[in-house]
């Protein structure tokens, strides 16, 4: 018996187990050959092939195809490379052809495939059409199978026994049924037999099938015979590079050389130095040798579609890339090594990541897809059930209500992923402080237990944010493709799968800050300021360096988070080289090294861990900062080859690294010991290396980022109003609009309220002031925003009625505009109530218009009432709900009376209270939960009052007590001790109180 139809969890929402587990089970049950036939896809091909290799099983590649209308099914098994290409083509057609018909599609692409089906009609049709086919009898012979066998006898086609399995063990039926209920949006007891697999759809041992098929031993034999023909064990590897179509017949090599030198002269001037020429020649030689010339040309072609990009990743170490305009940091000036990007010893495809302004990216991707129609596609992500989603879905199937489910799921940490879990999910949940008081009554125990089995199972595909592959032959001959819901073609593999096949990926990503810089400069130019971007060197500007060194970088790309700003404050370093180090060292796992780094930076004594490492880590004070430091250390300390060291570096950023890492660790220890490194030193170095796992940068990447950071910091330093306006307009920054508005106010920028005759859709700045843009007025539709601006271009609005007539906003939109103060300049003497009255009159007259025909009928008849005088607090409250901030003051000012009774220290005065216990009042702006060494959660929160920001620390005890009451944008009184560390002032909070009478605001805030 050879298992010819086996499904993994890549048969989405049907299968329950990973290909890895299935291979392990198959091995255990004595199978030496195994097919993986997931439904309409090859999602699991690479994990399957890898596991087969590990388990020493011969893989059979295949997939089950379904007909979308008739629901006919067939399993296609690959005999050879042609069959594989045909299968990819069939699956692609299944997903992208609207009228896909299985019956007619299979014969068109049947060469190299063996097709199994249970359907007598398909069987005879395909047999007639010359398809290599056989009848599949899954699980056990039954009534239908007997009929099928008759047809087969008539045709002379073989009957094959197959496992038809959806899960490896009988126990998994429960998980399978739960998945089906989730998928069908129903409860377990309402699941019909048609919508779930039968209980015997597990992968039984061979002897069991022999027993079940004892009446038809030939069916088992037929399986073996078919399997013998299926010699295909996976697609070939080897790099597949994008093609460069050239009509003039010039080779890519020459074209690249010309383009690179042309670009270099633009960057460095006509007279190129010897260093540049030497480096250029060296790089061109390697690029050509490795066949990457066309790749560079394709990337340059893509990059040229936007005037502002940030090329990053290891590609930023290339002078050729710098000359071609793919990257923006001079690799010679900042000492970036080309070998990090390309070297002849490297077999895996290099990465080239390019950022575009976030709002330009989709257009660029579309244009590339159009240009390489059929040869280009985006990489996909296999989106798996994460703990929160799994718990929620299982609970829904069991009939719990949304609020009940929310009480548990909303308390799970936001980024709690599968990797953070262990097998005993329930006790782990109980340890979470926010769930400490929840005792998990039934059915929660059952929910958590079932959810544990569902976590990690893929649910659907999503589009990778920008990973593009371009191939010389049509892409569907390499990999099956689908059309994502948003209409773009995607391949069925994640980036790792694409890499296994050798498909070189170009990442085209969106970056908000490039939009910010673009808009700020455009704003400057609109204001008549001349700005020369070509010779802009923000890194060398002293004022900008001071901004960076002081950590006053809210709004600046990559260096605006509280952690980064504190690091800047502590280091007091604002030069480019140090910023490159800081952008890289700020990793979740590197806290203790950061402390040590700061100490050494400020002149603390240090020795290299081992003399062998002295040179390697010289520029980073003996501390590993960049990804490549891992590789360099492995070479220097443990004698790794460059290729091996690079392998180690790559493994660390992978998900399932534990097993391979163990192997590398042994080699590292052995290698280092040979070189006489002590046991303690080895472990100290290894620990430092492990702090890079998951998330780390290489130096060229950090340098590229630092360049954008510096551009942003420069604009913030010299043109704060334009810069902050651009930050808010591009949205999606680390902080809320509210926080950015406060920051702008602190920079001395006046916030001008929205005005129908002055505001644009985006915020606009001028010296010393910025005007609120329509995008910050809540409830305003995109079309109304556009209409306001378009109508104004013809002539300005002369009063509110004129505005309402010409713009025709909906009632809630107009009310929002009135509350936001958009008509205050047009009607300086009128209260907002009276403007609302005008609006109401107009609405009334509009609804009456159809009857009377006289537009101002109602207005004339009904006199305006005299409304009671406006209450300032009420007015501000309305303004806040329309804008999310106040234009002329900080909301904390409104609590002044309440706070007067308490001894409150203002944020700006904190440095005078170092070491003392004080009490401050502020709004919560942002926060980040981290874990202590012992796994206890704690939180860093940023609060704000009208004088400044306060960075606070909630240690586990305080966090556990107060985490439940802390809400964004709500005022609190905090008691705690003011601390200072290398000049950065923070507060360690011991107690939190809500501000009395803050409820009213709180509901609106």
């Amino acid at each position: 018996m050879i298992p010819l139809t086996v499904r993994s969890y890549y048969s989405l929402m049907w299968g329950t187990c990973s290909p890895e587990k299935i291979c392990a089970v198959a091995k255990q049950r004595g199978y030496a050959q195994l097919a993986l036939t997931d439904t309409d896809n090859l999602y699991g091909l690479w994990p399957f092939l890898k596991s087969c290799e590990r388990e020493n099983i011969t893989p059979i590649v295949g997939a089950e195809l379904t007909d979308p209308v008739s629901e006919y099914r067939a399993v296609c098994l690959v005999e050879n490379a042609q069959g594989y290409a045909n299968l990819c083509r069939l699956i692609t057609r299944r997903h992208s052809d609207k009228g896909f018909d299985l019956k007619s599609a299979v014969p068109d692409h049947a060469r190299g495939l063996t097709v199994l089906t249970q359907n007598p009609e398909l069987l005879s049709e395909w047999y007639e059409a010359g398809v290599t086919t056989a009848a599949a009898v899954p699980r056990r012979p039954n009534g239908t199978a007997f009929k099928l066998r008759k047809v087969c006898k008539h045709l002379g086609v073989r009957v094959v026994a197959t496992p038809g399995s959806f899960f490896p063990d009988p126990d998994d039926l429960k998980v399978h049924r739960m998945l089906r209920a989730i998928d069908r949006n129903t409860s377990l007891s309402r699941l019909t037999p048609k919508h779930a697999a039968p209980s015997d759809a597990w992968l039984a041992p061979a002897w069991e099938y022999a027993e079940r098929f004892a009446v038809w031993p030939d069916a088992i034999r037929a399986g073996r015979e078919i399997a013998e023909r299926l010699t295909f064990t996976g697609p070939c590897s080897g790099l597949v590079l994008p093609p460069w179509g050239n009509s003039q017949g010039q080779s890519p090599k020459h074209l690249l050389r010309d383009a690179a030198y042309k670009g270099a002269r633009k960057r460095y001037g006509d007279d190129l130095s010897e260093t540049v020429v030497d480096r250029m020649e060296h790089e061109l030689r390697i690029i050509e040798k490795m066949g990457f010339s066309s790749y560079f040309l394709v990337v340059q072609d893509i990059v040229s579609r936007s005037p502002r990009i940030c090329g990053r990743g290891s590609g930023a170490a290339s002078l050729v890339a710098y000359s071609l305009g793919i990257t923006n940091v001079c690799p010679i000036k900042y000492n970036l090594y080309f070998e990090r990007f390309l070297n002849p010893g490297r077999s895996d495809p290099p990465d080239m990541d390019i950022d575009f302004a976030w709002d330009e990216r989709d257009e660029i991707i579309d244009s590339v897809l159009k240009q390489y129609n059929g040869h280009a596609g985006l990489v996909c992500n296999h989106v798996a059930f994460q703990p929160r989603m799994a718990i929620r879905e299982v609970a829904k199937v069991l009939g719990l209500t949304d609020p009940e489910i929310g009480r548990v799921t909303q308390r799970l940490p936001w980024f709690w992923r599968e990797v953070h879990m262990n097998d005993d999910l329930l006790s782990q949940l109980k340890q979470l402080p926010k769930l400490g008081q929840f005792d998990f009554p039934e059915p929660w125990q059952q929910i958590i237990h079932t959810a544990r089995h569902i976590i990690g199972i893929p649910r659907h595909l999503s589009v990778h944010p920008g990973g593009m592959v371009i191939t010389p032959d049509p892409l569907y001959t390499y990999v099956p493709m689908e059309i994502a819901p948003k209409g773009v073609p995607i391949i069925q593999w994640e980036k790792d799968g694409a890499e296994h096949r050798g498909l070189v990926k170009i990442d085209l990503l969106g970056n908000r800050s490039l939009g910010v810089i673009r808009d700020a400069i455009a704003n400057l130019k609109d204001n008549g300021t001349d700005f020369d971007e070509d010779h802009w060197e923000p890194e060398d500007d002293a004022a900008t360096q001071a901004t960076v060194a002081g950590g006053n970088t809210m709004g600046c790309f990559y260096i605006e988070s509280p952690a980064m700003r504190l690091l800047q404050k502590k280091t007091k370093m604002g030069d480019f080289e140090h910023l490159v180090i800081h952008s890289s060292i700020i990793r979740p796992a590197a806290n203790e090294f950061i402390r040590e780094y700061i100490r050494r930076l400020h002149g603390g004594k240090w020795e290299p861990i081992h003399p062998l490492l002295a040179d390697v880590l010289e520029e980073t004070y003996g501390i590993m900062v960049y990804q490549e430091d891992v590789a360099k250390t492995a070479v220097a300390l443990a004698g790794f080859s460059h290729a091996d060291a690079d392998g180690l570096r790559k493994i660390m950023s992978k998900k399932d690294k534990a097993r391979k890492l163990g192997h590398y660790k042994e080699r590292f220890i052995a290698g280092a010991r040979e070189r006489g490194v002590t046991h303690e030193q080895i472990h100290a170095v290894w620990d430092m290396m492990m702090s890079f796992s998951g998330y780390s940068f290489c130096k060229p990447h950090s340098a590229s980022y630092a360049r954008v950071s510096f551009q942003a910091a420069y604009l913030k330093t010299h043109y704060p109003a334009r810069f902050m306006a651009a930050v808010i307009s591009n949205q999606g920054g680390f902080y809320s609009t509210f926080a950015y508005v406060s920051e702008a106010r602190r920079l001395g920028v006046e916030i001008l309220p929205p005005d129908v005759n002055k505001s644009d859709i985006r915020w606009k700045g001028r010296a010393g002031a910025m005007r609120v843009g329509w995008l910050s007025v809540k409830g305003l539709s995109t079309s109304t925003r556009t209409r306001i601006v378009a109508q104004r271009k013809t002539k300005p609005y002369h009063d509110i009625m004129d505005f309402l007539e010409r713009v025709q906003p909906h009632d809630p939109e107009a009310r929002s505009l009135i509350h936001a103060g958009a008509f205050d300049l047009l009607h300086p003497k009128e209260s907002r109530a009276s403007l609302l009255w005008e609006l109401a009159c107009r609405q009334k007259s509009r609804s009456a218009r159809s009857g009377s025909g006289d537009l101002f009928n109602v207005r004339r008849v009904v006199p305006k009432p005299s409304f009671p005088p406006e209450n300032q607090t009420e007015r501000l409250r309305h303004e806040f709900s329309a804008l999310g901030f106040l234009c002329d003051r900080h909301p904390m000012v409104l609590y002044a009376d309440t706070l007067k009774k308490q001894k409150i220290v203002k944020a700006g005065d904190l440095p005078r209270f170092i070491g003392r216990h004080v009490c401050i009042a502020g709004l919560l702006i942002t926060g980040k939960v981290v874990h202590t060494k012992h796994g206890e959660p704690m939180e860093f929160l940023t609060f704000e009052d009208e004088t400044g920001l306060v960075e606070t620390t909630f240690f586990p005890k305080a966090y556990g007590r107060f985490c439940a009451i802390l809400e964004r944008n709500r005022p609190f009184i905090l008691y705690g001790k003011v601390e200072e560390d290398f000049g950065a002032v923070t507060m360690t909070v011991e107690r939190v109180d809500s501000l009395p009478n803050s409820n009213k605001w709180q509901t609106r805030l």
Binding site: N185, T186, S187, L188, S189, R190, K396, V397, L398, G399, L400, T401, D402, P403, E404, R407, P441, E442, P443, R815, H819, S831, R832, A833, L836, W837, A840, C841, K844, S847, V858, V861, V862, P863, P865, S866, F867, P868, P869, E870, N871, E874, H878, A964, I965, N999
Partner: protein
């Protein structure tokens, strides 16, 4: 229109008051009524003490406990409140045929117009009802006498949690004038928000506006607002009405469920109960309704018509199942099932069209008769249908 006297009796925080009657230790302590365990963790009612600490109806229990840490939390017990309400009404019954209770929440309107000659002035009547309630049940209800229901309700709101208020005819507008608009019943949250936008915070402010002006601001709502802020309310006190006869049975699931077998089992039990209730007075039901309450409080009713009318458990169940299938569209657990039979008639004499059906009907009737006989003798549980076990 003649001058009216409406008495409003209100037991403040009714649910809490009822619980305090049962357990005197709760007196003086903050109490929150909210479903314990899993579902509907929204505050249903609370005591004055909890209200003072910031607890409000509809708030999540967690948040409520955050504000009032030492509160005792009790689950809502509607049956208990219903019983207390019936007892409360009993004390008002001697004074007027027109008594209105909208829900089981401690509010009672008694129309005492022109009953003076029989029982004395309305305030005396109100005082006597209050005294009777206090003696019998231990509550101390708030009461008011006013020319209409609206003013009567505002008056009790004014004196909550204890006291009384009498407003004479013609004093309505002056009484309302200085009061915040939110005290006036029938003004919804949307209206309040709109009033706020125009800085209209007191009833007097709004009463300054003419009908036309209000119409511009509130459209179709203006009429009721115009009257509300002036204390004009002509709605009659609706007496405890005569409803058409129905047979009802309820089932509350111990654990909310979405399992088909469990729900259908419970439904069969209900069909048996209504069947027995119908057969006792020899009636049949022409229509069956299924009312279903989900865990999250959503409620849905669907019905099925019986042709011919029946009192046979098996046929009732078939109909009930059909109605259930129409009603049960979600997968959220079901908390409560109610089966309602109406269009009650005496059994139809018409026989089934086909002899085969007639025979089956007869057999089924015989079976039910046998079951009834056994149950009469040995008790209901002496014999059971498998699916109800």
């Amino acid at each position: 229109m003649r001058e009216r006297s409406i008495i409003h009796i209100n037991v403040a925080d009714f649910a809490v008051a009822v619980e305090r009657l049962v357990d005197s230790r709760l007196r003086g302590r903050p109490v929150i009524i909210a479903p314990g365990g899993a579902a509907r963790a929204a505050v249903y009612d609370m005591s004055e003490e909890s209200y003072q600490s910031g607890v409000r109806k509809g708030m999540t229990l967690g948040r409520a406990l955050g504000r009032c840490r030492d509160a005792v939390v009790l689950p809502p017990r509607p049956a208990r409140y219903e019983r207390a309400m019936t007892r409360l009404v009993k004390h008002a019954l001697p004074f007027s045929p027109l008594i209105e209770m909208t829900d089981h929440n401690g509010h009672l309107f008694v129309d005492a117009t022109r009953t003076g000659r029989l029982f004395g002035p309305p305030p005396d009547v109100a005082w006597r009802i209050r005294k009777a309630v206090r003696t019998d049940m231990g509550f101390d209800p708030i009461w008011s006498v006013a020319p209409n229901k609206l003013i009567a309700k505002v008056a009790t709101r004014m004196v909550k949690p204890a006291g009384e208020y009498v407003i004479g005819a013609g004093e309505e507008q002056d009484f309302l004038k200085p009061l915040p608009v939110h005290l006036i019943p029938g003004i919804e949250a949307e209206d309040l928000k709109r009033f706020g936008e125009f800085n209209l915070t007191r009833a007097g402010h709004v009463a300054h506006l003419s009908m036309e002006q209000l119409n511009i601001m509130f459209g179709s709502r203006s009429d009721s607002l115009y009257h509300a802020v002036r204390g004009i309310d002509s709605s009659p006190v609706l007496p405890v009405g005569q409803k058409p006869p129905v047979v009802v049975a309820d089932h509350e699931f111990a654990n909310d469920t979405n399992q088909v077998a469990v729900v259908q089992g419970a439904l069969y039990g209900l069909a048996e109960r209504v069947g027995a209730d119908l057969r006792k007075p020899r009636l049949t039901a022409g229509r069956i309704k299924v009312l279903l309450d989900y865990s999250d409080g959503r409620r849905i009713t669907r019905q099925a018509v019986a042709h011919p009318a029946t009192a046979n458990d098996v046929r009732l169940f078939v109909l009930a199942k059909r109605a259930l299938e129409r009603a049960w569209t979600r997968r959220v657990g079901i908390r409560h099932l109610r089966l309602i039979c109406d269009r009650l008639t005496y059994p139809p004499a018409q026989m089934a069209l086909f002899a085969e059906d007639e025979k089956e009907n007869k057999m089924s009737d015989t079976l039910i008769f046998a079951l009834d006989t056994i149950r009469r003798r040995f008790g209901f549980n002496a014999i059971r249908v498998g699916r109800t076990l």
